[in-house]
Symmetry: C2
Subunit: 460 residues, 2 copies
């Protein structure tokens, strides 16, 4: 393991001087992602521009047994892009071409480095729609989204990344290129390698080309901000909304602490006593959306809403979403460190989970901020602490144990969209049995018998 | 390999006399499925009633290296349930309980032997909806649907079986029980074993429990029968319909030969010159569906439709669907044998594919009947021949080669929903590369190193 000078010079020769670096400052920049507190220096960083270059790098890494860590923008929340064993960080950000948008067949073909917001803009310009929209969409790459099976608020109605990936091209750890899936609406020839690679956190193959299913762009979108004086009441309203025949495309929530962080950014006049906020979004035919919006208004006010505000124009709606999407980074205003988890519980258990989080907060004495995709039961729970304070850090870890235990007790999962990466490795066995993990590890060995691709992730 | 008397007696003791048989007539009944011309006798047939019994049978089969072929109703089209290497056919039809329908969380938990139509009826009674609806829904089991990743007409709007399976319980070839996936809307912990097992044609594990995602039942359904005087014109209309923002839930087509087979069953007065029929179905809010139906009517008449008939009531719509669903078995009226393929092409290539099928028919001199899920580009193409006539059989095989070659040339796949099984094994390499197949075979070996579960399928 490890990279010697000869390998470095060879890669430099093949990729070009500009596209490999081992300057200390560059190595630091690629030593971490958005997972708090996880950082390891890579030996070097490479920036391939083509699939052939990715294959070339992998062949060399395979031969020399050098760890390779594929990454996009590094916005992942669980340390999936952190080079825990050194080696080469492979940034795929240069491979950012949208290769085609097929308006007849509702398909886009893209390279992994395309920024998700750019993909949204490009397809929407053609009257099409790519639903997955993680909070980091302005910076994250589609390759990273495929690696983690990203979700985001619109998953309530439209599902997650997995539901839009029809086929892939990918480079195996030994440098061979494989093609999986189809570019048609259906396809079942052989085992489903496409969905096996989606969500595999860059541990099985380096995805170099993605065929995505698109939808027609919804004709109309209505955005509502619904205030409650209490988070549990808001959570009960969510369960109620989701039991109805109308499926909003988004049902987000912000608890009191989240709300206070972004309150000033909202272009809405929230009532002073508002302590929980739901953001609801409905889309589709304009007349139908308006009728459904009215139904949801009536339901929310019966469910105890303090106020129900409708975004008057796209600017007001955008401000609401910007505030929501800024929440994760803005949390550092509260404390220097967070344990940031994306648990999921069955929708009917949201009120229960919200109460249990409250208890965990009280018992720990820490600030616990939660917000997220309530319509999926997907709660982003942030346990805040001062990283310089050992007692607080220990309390935070204890609170985290309780959070996962309660989540699983309610029939939930420890991760809805962030993946396991580094930060949840220790908890994987709480959810997944030994035999199932053994199968997964053997599958890893099928793809990567030398364990060079993104080593040290997911499994303990 | 093979089963001795001691094993038979042991199984009889464990399962009970009624639930194992090796009578010649029973063995014949379980020697084939709906794939024409494929038949091999099993040594015995077992009917487990519980997951524990499935595990018990597998442990014994593992120890004695006896092939086990899990099956539901045997309605599969590619020989997936045929015991090519003898052994035990394991019919899961007794495990047919709907274990729960959770109306709060839109989830059903079922055993594999549940008939799909029974599942539809049960969830619809609760105001819910399970979209996948293969033509065999009145007889096929949900376990079989999971094994093949079944589709059906509603996939146009709603996707296929894979899109509704949240989690599984399954028995491994060595008898261990695994649990995969979640019972929540999202979940990404570890590799996606759930979708790996879906569509694996009973070769990786015996699925014993399935957690399904449900939707609210659509409030209103409109069913249209649209006639054309020519199949290519109809195919162009389909491409046109699919380019619009309205996504019907079904876009089926029947070519001239199909139409003539069921014409008398339809409760519609079709124009005499009708030589192609589209069945369109739209669902959702009543007012919106009516508006969209009108838009589609206008479009179809501009696209050259001879006549556009709306089902006046559910009975008329049901008769149309019964006729459509009866097509596959009724084809034997034309000839004693068929090669029945479920190719898929990109939607925009449907007119092209329809023309190519016409050419194949003319060149072969055989009757080629096609119908299917046009809205997905999923064409069920049936090459009819007299099985007693060697020349015709050879012509049919030649026509099949051309069919697959043309499909792949247009960017399609050799199977949209029937799977590879036995009948498409020889063609898998036309679509899937050596390296990709090698990965699949190694995954098979991870689950089933003794190759006892449904041996001889998918791979050559």
């Amino acid at each position: 393991m490890g990279m010697d000078d000869a390998v470095y010079r060879l890669l430099k020769h093949r990729l070009g001087e500009k596209y490999i670096t081992r300057n200390p400052e560059d190595r630091v920049c690629y030593s971490y992602d958005a997972a708090p507190g996880q950082s390891f220096l890579p030996d070097a960083v490479v920036f391939p521009g083509t699939q052939a270059q990715v294959a070339d790098i992998m062949r060399l890494a395979w031969e020399k047994r050098i760890p390779v860590i594929p990454r996009g923008s590094g916005s992942g929340m669980t340390g999936g892009a952190v080079p825990v064993k050194g080696g080469l960080v492979m940034a795929l950000t240069r491979m950012n071409r949208i290769l085609g948008i097929d308006t007849d067949n509702f398909i886009a073909t893209v390279e992994p480095g395309v920024i998700v917001a750019d993909l949204h803009a490009a397809v929407e310009k053609q009257g099409l729609f790519y639903p997955p929209d993680p909070a980091s969409s302005a910076v994250c790459t589609i390759g990273g989204n495929v690696g983690e099976c990203a979700g985001g608020p619109r998953a309530v109605k439209y599902g997650v990344t997995r539901d839009y990936v029809l086929g892939l091209q990918a480079v195996l750890p030994d440098g061979d290129i494989i093609r999986t899936g189809v570019c048609t609406a259906k396809g079942v020839a052989g085992y489903d390698l496409t969905r096996l690679i989606v969500g595999s956190e860059g541990t099985l193959a380096v995805v170099t080309r993605i065929t995505l299913r698109l939808l027609p762009k919804p004709a109309y979108v209505a955005t509502l901000a619904v205030c409650f004086d209490d988070m549990v009441t808001a959570a009960r309203a969510v369960s109620g909304i989701m039991r109805r025949a109308v499926i909003p495309r988004c049902v987000e929530y912000l608890d009191e602490a989240s709300l206070s962080l972004v309150r000033n950014q909202l272009q809405f006049d929230l009532p002073a006593q508002a302590r929980a906020l739901l953001i609801l979004e409905l889309d589709g035919d304009e007349a139908l959306v308006k009728t459904q919006t009215e139904q949801i208004r009536v339901f929310c006010s019966q469910a105890g809403a303090l106020d129900i505000l409708t975004a008057g124009d796209p600017v007001q709606a955008a401000a609401l979403w910007e505030a929501r999407k800024a929440l994760s980074p803005v949390l550092y205003k509260i404390a220097s460190q967070k344990l940031n988890e994306d648990i999921v519980v069955p929708i009917s258990k949201i009120p229960d989970m919200v109460s249990r989080i409250k208890t965990i907060q009280q018992e720990s004495g820490l600030t616990v901020v939660s917000f997220g995709h309530a319509g999926d039961g997907n709660i982003h729970c942030n346990i805040m602490y001062d990283k310089a304070d050992e007692t607080q850090a220990a309390q935070a870890r204890k609170a985290l144990d309780k959070l996962f235990a309660q989540t699983l007790a309610l029939g939930g999962t420890i991760t809805g969209e962030h993946g396991v990466g580094l930060t949840k490795k220790a908890y994987l066995s709480w959810e997944i049995g030994d035999r199932e993990q053994s199968i997964m590890k053997q599958i890893k060995a099928v793809f990567d018998p030398r364990q060079i691709l993104n080593p040290g992730k997911i499994f303990s």
